[in-house]
């Protein structure tokens, strides 16, 4: 899958990293992206949100996509500028259908221990897209506009 057109960047803008499929290695892309966000002037709140969404995407890739198989890899592509952050995470799994994940905020699911990762990814980013297979997720986080001065 190529960059969703509404994300407003070109393929050539992206930096790619391939990391071993384990949760420790999965931290490295997060560190680099957060560093780039700090350099580009993102506030701690926005950084917190992106970090949370990315953490969930990486955990899903390692645990569910690659089934904790250490011989597999996770591909991360990212782009950061002062207006937006784009992150793609792809695993080697056979994918899933995001529409089939039950809503964890529905009354009957509230006490179920699992199923909140995808919901948090949606909540903390501007846009989330999956490829047709469901093993590649694209997330866009736009910088919130500064509050308008009150007169």
């Amino acid at each position: 899958m190529t960059v969703p057109p509404e994300f407003g960047i070109r393929e050539s803008d992206l930096t790619e990293m391939v990391v071993p499929s384990n949760l420790r290695s999965a931290k490295e892309p997060e560190r680099r992206i957060v560093r780039a966000m700090v350099r580009n002037g993102y506030d701690p709140e926005t950084t917190f949100g992106l970090k949370l969404a990315l953490e969930e995407a990486m955990t899903n890739a390692v645990k569910h996509g690659n089934c904790n198989d250490p011989s597999k890899s996770v591909v991360v592509r990212y782009y950061v500028d002062p207006r937006r952050v784009v992150v793609m995470v792809r695993d080697e799994g056979c994918g899933f259908c995001p529409e089939n994940v039950p809503d964890p905020t529905a009354e009957e699911n509230l006490e179920r221990p699992n199923g909140r990762g995808i919901m948090l990814m949606h909540s903390y980013t501007t846009r989330v897209c999956y490829n047709r297979t469901g093993n590649e997720v694209w997330m866009l986080k736009e910088k919130s506009p500064p509050p308008q001065p009150t007169r």
């Binding site: 931290k27 955990t59 919901m119």
Partner: protein
Amino acid sequence: MRPPEWSCTMEQPSSHLKIRRSDDFSLVEFADRKILEELSIQEIEEELTRLVEGQMGLKLVLNFKNVDHLSSAALSMLLKLNRRLEEQNGQLKLSDINRQIFEVFKITRLNRIFQIHDTVEDAIAGFGRV
């Protein structure tokens, strides 16, 4: 509100948790700022399970004052702990959750499941009201 009086205070050295016990309740502080990684969450879960195991009616406060990041895996661990305590007629209360973390509880609507208090003192006082 006066600070809690510990009839028996015990510090337990552990990699992830600081545990203090009184006759009436237990207070747990997270040593880690981030409750994110699967591995550390598993270890935290094991430590908490050991703490509550067989403790019928245990009143437990989890103090989040050191925590500035968490993940859905941590929420899952808290839900399992809450369920376990309920099965043992115990109670779980959370305290000192910062604004960003509280937002995670609100977004997931788990603020409806957990009893969340501003401070440890409020949480302890809350035990008396139930």
